[in-house]
């Protein structure tokens, strides 16, 4: 029964997402796709922040590096297949994370936050201040990749609905894969590192290797989100790597609930909804967002993902009083 109540909302939400493009306008289909991309991005960051205790403040770098990889590997006239451009852009982001991880993972606490930020800013300025990727204006994607299977074109990415379904499928895939990963011994080792790294070392774990592995994976997943973002919008800008972006995705994780997988998804929907709502209301929508985040942090430690447990506890308490 408890299991039913936990999975029913998920199934219902999934059903709504599956039929959503058939009813809404294209604008909303694209908005939800953008939200799901943010959800993947946030889940990847939560692997570091929530599960391993590594507060990265430069996670946008990997998002942006994958996006630029797609744009730079698509010269005018070229048409790429998604079967190689997707893995290549994900691997580029993972490789960047591997190299940067070797340096940043030697630091701890506040230093880790600052060094991840510093590396991301370097990547930002590389694209912002050089002609490599169109400078501060960014560049348009010359052509969207194609997706053929057995000679048939199965998806056309000129069609936002097709992108939507690809994004939805990948969101589900990432969610389920991470759920599995975190239940393996590897996942427990990560949680052990977050909880008590000193004891993990004393028990014989080379924690650096595990942190590097998850940092690389998280970078690759952020890269997947970056790939999907270019696929959706058709252009890249240095803003994709900027620290605002790193900050926003951190906010999404905090809003939704650190150390849960559903949290980043809930956080992404809340973040985008709030952004749309507040943007229409006032010029300074960040102010509204800031107030909301402060409210959540104080009123709901554990984020939005903690609401069901709190409600359940209330109900149980109420029943006992009756």
């Amino acid at each position: 029964m408890a299991r039913f109540f936990r999975t029913f909302p998920l199934i219902a939400a999934l059903a709504v997402l599956l039929v959503f493009p058939m009813f809404g306008q294209i604008f909303y289909t694209e908005l939800v796709a953008k939200t799901l991309i943010l959800a993947i991005f946030a889940m990847s960051l939560d692997l570091l922040v929530g599960y391993t205790g590594l507060v990265s403040f430069g996670h946008a770098a990997y998002f942006g590096i994958a996006a630029y990889t797609v744009a730079l590997l698509t010269p005018a006239g070229a048409v790429n297949s998604i079967w190689w451009i997707l893995p290549v852009s994900v691997l580029a982001a993972a490789l960047a994370a591997l190299v940067i991880g070797v340096f940043v993972l030697r630091t701890k606490g506040i230093y880790f936050i600052m060094v991840t930020l510093a590396f991301a800013q370097m990547a930002f300025f590389l694209f912002h201040d050089t002609d490599l990727g169109g400078g501060s204006d960014g560049i348009f994607l010359n052509s969207k990749p194609t997706a053929h299977l057995f000679g048939h074109e199965i998806l056309t990415f000129e069609n936002p609905t097709h992108i939507y379904y690809l994004v939805l499928a990948l969101t589900i895939f990432v969610y389920l894969s991470l759920r599995w990963l975190l239940k393996t011994s590897f996942g427990h080792i990560l949680i052990g590192i977050r909880s008590n790294e000193h004891r993990m070392v004393a028990m014989g774990y080379n924690t650096f290797n595990y942190k590097l592995a998850i940092f690389t994976m998280a970078g690759g997943l952020a890269g997947l989100a970056g790939f999907l973002q270019v696929l959706l919008t058709g252009f890249v800008t240095p803003e994709m790597l900027a620290w605002h972006q790193s900050g926003n995705v951190l906010l999404v994780v905090i809003l939704g609930g650190i150390g849960t997988l559903i949290g980043p998804v809930l956080g992404a929907f809340t973040f985008v909804a709030l952004q749309e709502f507040a943007q229409g209301l006032v010029d300074r929508w960040q102010l509204v967002m800031g107030i909301f985040v402060i409210l959540v942090v104080f009123a709901l430690p554990g984020g939005l993902a903690a609401i069901p447990a709190r409600v359940r506890r209330r109900l149980v308490k109420g029943a006992q009083h009756d």
Binding site: L181, K183, T184, S185, F186, H188, I189, I191, G192, S195, N196, H198, R199, V201, A202, M203, G204, Y205, N206, T207
Partner: protein, 258 residues
């Protein structure tokens, strides 16, 4: 068996460690043999934990060498020392409070099986690791509370878990920093029994303030004062030593009543 015949597992040769101007350890040499419990005594701040930290790799020594079965391991990082058989427990309980008792033991036992084929599976699907967790829970008297969340255990039970986790890593050398501190009488006597049984296959360094336990268990005693080795020898010699008596002035009673 005489001392001479027992196999030397760990040898510390004139280890020193300074913290700024403070000499926490000066030229301390200790030999740990299989089949022996070697007690390390000394007043608060004598440098006992510092000594364990150097052997376990948590603290680099300022000078001196550490040999495991004759091989120099002074340069190895802490995780490597654990993997070659040097296991330690902590004076201040150092467990994973949000994991269950069994999950704590499983995580410890898993450290011996880190092959990719073994860690990308649910922890409870690894039979060898699960078996080891049951063994150490039974040894330390925690078999009845495997599914309890470690943070909710009593202080004494957390101390038992602390030892269970060290044993789960299958060490040959045990460095135990006040394992009995905070245990009730029952828990304490069970732990003393366990240590007596572990002596057979392990070399044990025991830091302990409970003199009854020390004199019941120790084959050799070394006394540290202000980071310096005051005296080392069999319990009878230490008990009779005037130097030790004067260093422990005020704690005389404790030694006398044994």
């Amino acid at each position: 068996m005489t001392e001479r015949h027992r196999e030397v597992f760990l040898e510390a040769r004139s280890l020193s460690r300074h913290f700024g101007g403070l000499a926490a350890n000066s030229n301390v040499s200790v030999t740990l043999r299989r089949g022996e419990i070697h007690a390390l005594l000394g007043p608060n701040g004598a440098g006992k934990s510092t000594f364990i930290n150097m052997l376990s790799g948590d603290l680099p020594p300022s000078s001196g060498t550490i040999l495991l079965k004759g091989e120099d391991v002074s340069g190895l990082p802490a995780h490597r020392r654990s993997r070659i058989g040097i296991g330690r427990s902590f004076q201040r309980t150092n467990i994973f409070p949000t994991f269950s008792v069994q999950e704590n033991c499983v995580l410890a036992a898993q450290s011996r099986q880190q092959q990719p084929g073994k860690i990308f599976r649910p922890p409870l699907h690894n039979q060898a690791v699960v078996d080891r967790s049951h063994e150490v829970m039974a040894l330390t008297g925690l078999a009845h509370c495997g599914s309890q969340i470690a943070g909710t255990l009593s202080h004494g039970e957390q101390r038992q878990l602390e030892i269970a986790m060290v044993l789960a890593t299958n060490p040959i050398v045990l460095l135990l920093d006040e394992p009995l501190a905070g245990m009730g009488a029952d828990e304490s006597s069970r732990m003393v029994d366990l240590l007596a049984r572990l002596r057979r296959d392990h070399a044990i360094l025991l830091v302990e303030h409970d003199m009854d336990a020390v004199f019941a268990l120790a084959d050799v005693i070394t006394v540290l004062v202000n980071g310096e080795l005051l005296e080392s020898g069999p319990p009878a010699q230490i008990k009779a030593s005037p130097a030790v008596r004067s260093a422990y002035l005020g704690e005389d009673e404790e030694i006398d009543h044994v």
